[in-house]
Amino acid sequence: MAVKGLKTKDQHIINLANIVNSPRSILYQKEDLLAYDCDGFTIHKHLPRAVVFPKNTEEVARLVKYCHEHDLPFLARGAGTGLSGGAIPLNGEVIISLVRMKKLLSVDLENRRAVVEPGFVNLKLTNSISDKGYYYAPDPSSQYCCTIGGNVAENAGGAHCLKYGVTTNHILGLEVVMPNGEIIEIGANGIPDAPGYDLLGLLTGSEGTLGIVTKITVRILKNPEAKQTVLAYFDKVADGSQAVSDIISAGIVPAALEMMDKTAIEGVEAAAFPVGHPKDIEAVLLIEVDGISAGIDEQINEILDVCKKRNVREVKVAQDEAERGRWWANRKTGFGAMGAISPDYLVQDGVIPRSKLPIVLERINQISEEYGLRISNIFHAGDGNLHPLVLFDARIPGETEKALAAGSACLQVCADVGGTITGEHGVGIEKREEMRFVFKDEEIIAQTDIREVFNPKNLLNAGKLFPTPGRCVEIKKEMKAASTAAN
């Protein structure tokens, strides 16, 4: 049935509108498209050709099939909270927005699993089952608005993945629309270890380049019986770093172990959720232990001892859930809080072996001085996942470029000490070139080879994740193709 009331002559848009069967399920005019020209990474912008809002898997499949057959670039988008530009329509893509596929399809508490549509918001899952004492573990800071589909694409982490793992450890099954429109189901019924290569693991974190996820079976967990949260203030950042290592060495696996440095503290205290951190300390640790009530006090006492040995100035345990909530709000809104002390900021996402923390923080300090830009650090210290925030003012000509270069330099430091360039935000557009810090050409080709199996026309989210092929990569690829053909 032809949709009426469209103000366009673009036949593709008319045909796409017919698939979603409503003029209200497609955007195509410039003023409407502007909201979709970037995601949480705002430095690059590009307008999509259209944004369509399918209601179900079949519509997604038909849209994808149409794009595939007509060679139209396309990509999937959730809430658009991604921080690396994975949902930016670099090639004027048709954006398939999954926000209207937001149902919680089923919950099976006895078998600890739930099935959701990709547009279902992360925190809503926990809120839907918390009255029964259950929750969904991955908790990115944007969990109040980010979607589980987006979490799968990015293999999202969060503050509590130190103990509970990241998204990939909680995904049991996926329904996927392949880049040619075919629908497949992997991990049927949420049963683990389906025979064959681990496509669940491969798709999770593939940044929307291998397929579009339309249904997700996740593992849910029982709430821990008890939880205690500690704040520890250190005069020296080195002492704070050492305390992190000591806690882990003591055989404690905290649920979360977060750190903020002096500049970050200045930011969070100036923003919407101040909690009264002293302004003259170099580091604050936010430590959470959860589990069986009978064992918690012992672990908290051990943590307090460790902090004292490392010259902590003050250490306190949250007295109630309200206080705990305030501390976490202060931490989880930390990125946005930088807006209170800087017109713009760029967030980075390097990971390092935990033991290298002091030396890396020192190097980041030097980078800050070299570039003349303040860099604050908010990070998941327990698993070595740093978030250096480069503060800058985009109105000053050249400062954006300088901030990007400083961010990249921080990632180089992480790579140099044996770490990596992203722990949970993904590569997207932002860190494509930095992929070369950690992978050689052959290793990048090994990955694009896999993309070709799933997405041979490369119409789905092209230009993401991998560096623009250098001349040598292209030649190697040609040579490989030639030798394969010869065999």
Partner: protein, 441 residues
């Protein structure tokens, strides 16, 4: 080419002492090779693969050999690449709790070493003395404690893989969180050696628990409803068992002396927490069930005996009977039904059956032994039961001759074309463990 010529060619690229004609041909479990090569460096593996790839030579990969009966429709490939001498710890960063090892290292050796640092790999595979880390990862092994700690795919953070053309590709890294590029680790974990040779494995570690115990809760015949409601209640409580494994009566008899359905509920935490949880279970326990607690060493002894169950491809079988082992995956609580169905096979098929399954993760292992026809029929029966419960059954151990008749991996999934696509992209000449995996990949 005759074998002697192949040996001579290999001697041109590798030290002579690494190569020998394989006199163990016609192994009852197959997956062998005419010439056995035991490389000692990654470079040697790379040279060997490159040679094989250019010359169309097929390779069987073996390490500890415990999984030699796991899949495979080739009795002998051209080469048997054994990783038995490619072993040892490459790097253990105690403070970072990461460990990098060569694939031929036995699991027990690793755990014994790590225990000195109060750390462990959070996996509990079968036959830890014989099984090597390379094989465990290649088969994505896990044990009853998967409920608490996850499986191989949750423990591995980095791999070095020698591709069939000899190139070394790194996946992941040495940090515990990493989303740079595709999660290529996942592709190789559980790939049964069909994509390349794992030349280095990096794992994240966990601290050794400060205390452990396990509760054995045995249920008399006919009390399966009580058992199920207890399990549901336990899973719905805030207790944190690291295993909730159901043993079939015959397996329970062997391990505990009680021929009853038995739940193995393990706790690992600080001592006060473990005791608290033991008390909670005592309160929750149904009247009919018999409860016994094994503490510390006794718990460890139980587990040591537990892991030495079922067929082991590395040790020649002392019996003339046919041995098989199945892995059945179902939705968590359906494990109860699968374990029960398995037990029934004892009488209906006149077999020795030992089965266990995890009520918190849905995976069952069923070992059967008896006359060849009965074993074959039991496999068919168990697969039907699994499928009736919307699950799957694969056969993890079976003699080579029987693997010709029984499709050990079951039917191909609907997305089989993707598995084929991956295989042909990475191993375009099909030299690595050909026909070992799903659908003859």
């Amino acid at each position: 080419m005759v074998t002697a010529d192949l040996v001579n060619e290999l001697k041109m690229i590798l030290p002579e002492e690494r190569i020998g004609e394989n006199h163990e041909l016609d192994h009852p479990l197959g997956n062998s090779g005419k010439v056995k090569v035991c490389p000692e460096t990654e470079e040697e593996i790379s040279k060997l693969l490159n040679y094989a790839n250019l010359n169309g030579k097929t390779i069987s990969v073996v390490s500890g050999g415990t999984k030699r009966g796991f899949g495979g429709l080739s009795e002998n490939n051209d080469l048997l690449l054994s990783l038995e001498n490619y072993k040892g710890i490459v790097e253990h960063t105690v403070g970072d709790m990461t460990l990098t090892v060569k694939p031929g290292t036995s699991f027990k050796e690793l755990q014994d070493y790590l225990a000195k640092h109060n750390q462990k790999i959070a996996l509990d595979p079968a036959w830890p003395e014989d099984a090597t880390i390379g094989g465990i990862i290649a088969a994505n092994e896990s044990g009853p404690k998967r409920l608490g700690y996850g499986s191989s795919r949750d423990a591995v953070i980095g791999l070095r893989v020698v591709y069939p053309d000899g190139q070394v590709i790194r996946a992941g890294g040495k940090v515990v969180k990493n989303v740079a590029g595709y999660d290529m680790n996942k592709l190789f974990i559980g790939s049964m050696g069909t994509l390349g040779v794992l030349s280095e494995v990096t794992l994240k570690l966990r601290p050794l628990p400060k205390y452990e115990s396990l509760i054995l809760l045995s249920f008399p015949e006919g009390k399966s409803d009580e058992m199920k409601s207890f399990a549901v209640k336990l899973l719905d409580s805030m207790l944190e068992p690291v295993s909730l494994e159901l043993l079939s009566p015959s397996l329970s008899e062997k391990l505990t002396g009680e021929k009853l359905y038995t739940l193995v509920i393990a706790f690992e935490d600080v001592e006060s927490s473990v005791h608290y949880q033991e008390d909670m279970v005592k309160k929750m326990k149904p009247f009919e069930a018999k409860l016994e607690i094994y503490k510390r060493e006794k718990a460890q002894e139980f587990w040591n005996a537990f892991y030495k169950n079922g067929p082991n491809g590395a040790r020649s079988s002392s019996t003339n009977e046919t041995e098989a082992s199945l892995k059945v995956g179902v939705v968590n609580l359906d494990v109860l039904e699968i374990v029960r169905e398995s037990e029934l096979l004892r009488d209906s098929h006149n077999l020795v059956v030992e089965a266990h399954g995890g009520l918190g993760h849905g995976l069952c292992q069923i070992h059967v032994r008896g006359a060849i026809g009965d074993v074959e029929s039991a496999i068919k029966h168990l697969r039907e039961s699994a499928e009736k419960n919307n699950g799957y059954a694969i056969v993890k151990h079976l003699p080579y001759s029987l693997r010709q008749k029984v499709n050990v991996w079951g039917d191909n999934p609907s997305y089989f074309f993707l598995l084929q696509g991956i295989k042909s992209k990475i191993d375009s000449n099909g030299i690595m463990n050909p026909r070992r995996f799903v659908g003859g990949i």
